[in-house]
């Protein structure tokens, strides 16, 4: 899931200052913590109160979209509403904001959130944890399923560095686990320290260069290959 953080009310307020009639669109997709209709309504109430204090008129409509990052779903959900409002506030991740911009180019869409990372909830720690840095060259097969790109503050390929003390990282005041020590422990337990000791070459940053595009057809290659092989068989 994509982990997000709400911007401060002041920042959102400043962005929408010129507008008095705003559509607030939540997202029921992978955005975490949830930012659906309930959160959209809460944001609307907060903005309205602040506008009232400033003696300004403000109307809003709160709604939500199954997945803002899907242009067809977003268009279907919001098209009938958009014309009635001066601007849109998106409570999705940065993808959602940009898809609404693309689908409704005649309006400005403002982000209510900062997009933080790809992660998941850790209920023991009561927090969201980053799991994937989208490096384009997944290493989990040689690191015991623990990602050093997302899990190591230096994203090292050959760790641990000298900055770990008793398995804790120098970044974050020795409270966060050193990914490389965890990788070592796990591979040791599984009898695969050969994987740990092996030199891992430098990364190819072309795989992480933005902007990135992948042709739809590329993703279908494997299916084509299966079809071909099955036909031959």
């Amino acid at each position: 899931m994509i982990v997000t953080k709400l911007k401060s009310l002041e920042e959102i307020y400043d962005m929408i200052k010129p507008y008095s009639n705003v559509l607030i669109a939540g997202c029921d997709g992978c955005c975490q913590p949830p930012r659906g209709i309930h959160e959209a309504n809460n944001l609307g109430k907060m903005l309205k109160l602040k506008k009232m204090v400033d003696g300004e008129k403000f109307d809003y409509k709160a709604t939500t979209v199954l997945r803002q990052c899907d242009d067809k779903i977003a268009a279907t959900a919001l098209r009938s509403l958009v014309d009635d409002y001066d601007a849109i506030i998106s409570m999705a991740c940065g993808i959602g904001v940009q898809i609404l911009t693309k689908v409704f180019p005649e309006k400005l869409t403002f982000p209510a959130q900062n997009t933080m990372f790809n992660g998941a909830a850790d209920h023991e720690k009561n927090s969201y944890v980053e799991y994937c840095n989208q490096c384009g060259d997944c290493l989990l097969g040689i690191t015991g399923g623990i990602c050093p790109v997302a899990g190591c503050a230096k994203s090292l390929m050959n760790g641990p560095c000298g900055g770990q003390i008793d398995g804790k990282c120098e970044v974050g005041d020795y409270k966060i686990d050193c990914a490389w020590v965890n990788i070592y422990k796990r591979l040791k337990k599984l009898g695969r320290l050969d994987l740990f000791e092996k030199y891992r070459p430098k990364r190819d940053y072309r795989l992480m260069t933005s902007p990135s595009f992948i042709d739809f057809l590329e993703l279908d290659e494997i299916e084509e290959e299966i079809n071909e092989k099955e036909a031959k068989a």
Partner: protein, 320 residues
């Protein structure tokens, strides 16, 4: 690597099996290299080489390449140019290594470097395009194959004559050195030629770690020690340097000196010096006797006066 090529005094002495001493120099936030040169001149008779640090503790300082070159040129002391992968990508690192060769530097210590978030520019972009092992491999390629990532040097270019070292952390023996030892084995396979360790105070911790390094690699190790100029530094080091603690009895001896009635500053300084000598000399002699260290890396930054008595106590003579 591990052939007979010797480009530096440091490597020559290591190969000859001499007990090698290196020092450490930290240029400050300044354009003036003279204080560093002065310190280098003071330690020169007692060390084989000295490291010039690269934005140590992730705090911005005069560039280590400029500092290394100017210090070596002005003091005549051989320098170990510290180069971290924290602030440069592979292109900048390759260029810096070529630059080091062109400036007559003979040793590089390849480091990952403390993270920006631990230093004084915490919002800086962490580079880490390479890690220390990648940098060791790059330097080996440049020295051994005359190329950078496969890009050939000019035909007319002279060979790059550099030795490459790496870091090691003996304190991991206190909590589990398995991953560190394997990391060192990777560096050894990549072609590292010497190791300088982080500061360690406990002889048995050091011995345990060094034995493992010796059993698992063939790389000579210079043990990192930190002689302390006074009680304040000792206490600060104990409190604020994570993962290393100054032994309690050593700390209380420093405290006694601070509290003592001394006829003058010199007497007090002599007392501090005496404690350092009495603590570190037997430790180093013992590890040397056990054949576990090739020498020591004395991180006595801004404390060059410790070198003459320490070197004498170790039974070594000043250089000509």
């Amino acid at each position: 690597m591990s052939d007979d090529r010797v480009y530096s005094d440091l490597m020559r002495e290591l190969k000859q099996g001499n007990f090698v001493i290196t020092g450490e120099l930290e240029p400050e936030v300044t354009t003036d290299i003279d204080p560093t040169v002065k310190e280098a001149v003071a330690m020169k008779p007692y060390v084989t080489a000295a490291n010039v640090t690269d934005n140590p503790k992730a705090t911005v300082c005069l560039s280590s390449l400029a500092g290394s070159f100017l210090t070596q040129q002005k003091s005549g002391l051989e320098i170990v140019y510290q180069l971290t992968t924290r602030d440069m990508n592979r292109m900048a690192l390759g260029a810096a290594v070529l630059g080091a060769g062109s400036l007559g530097l003979k040793n590089i210590l390849a480091l990952t470097g403390d993270h920006h978030q631990t230093g004084n520019m915490p919002g800086a972009k962490p580079v880490y395009d390479y890690d220390s092992t990648h940098l060791i491999k790059l330097i080996r390629e440049m020295v051994d194959n005359r190329s950078i990532e496969g890009i050939k040097f000019d035909d007319e270019a002279p060979d790059l004559k550099l030795h490459v070292g790496g870091a090691a952390n003996p304190n991991t023996a206190m909590w589990g050195m398995g991953p560190e030892i394997m990391h060192i084995r990777r560096k050894a396979a990549a072609g590292v030629e010497f190791l300088q360790t982080q500061v360690v105070y406990d002889i048995e911790v050091a011995a345990q770690f060094l034995k493992e390094v010796k059993d698992k690699t063939n790389v000579p190790v210079l043990l990192g020690i930190f002689p302390m100029k006074g009680y304040g530094i000792a206490k600060g080091f104990d409190e604020f340097v994570p993962g290393v603690s100054v032994p309690k009895d050593l700390l209380s001896r420093f405290k006694e000196v601070k509290k003592g009635n001394w006829p003058n500053k010199k007497a007090k300084k002599d007392a501090y010096r005496k404690i350092n000598i009495e603590f570190f000399t037997p430790m180093l002699k013992e590890l040397k006797k056990r054949g576990l260290v090739a020498g020591c890396h004395i991180m006595a930054v801004h404390y060059p006066k410790i070198f003459p008595p320490l070197v004498e106590a170790l039974g070594l003579s000043p250089k000509e």
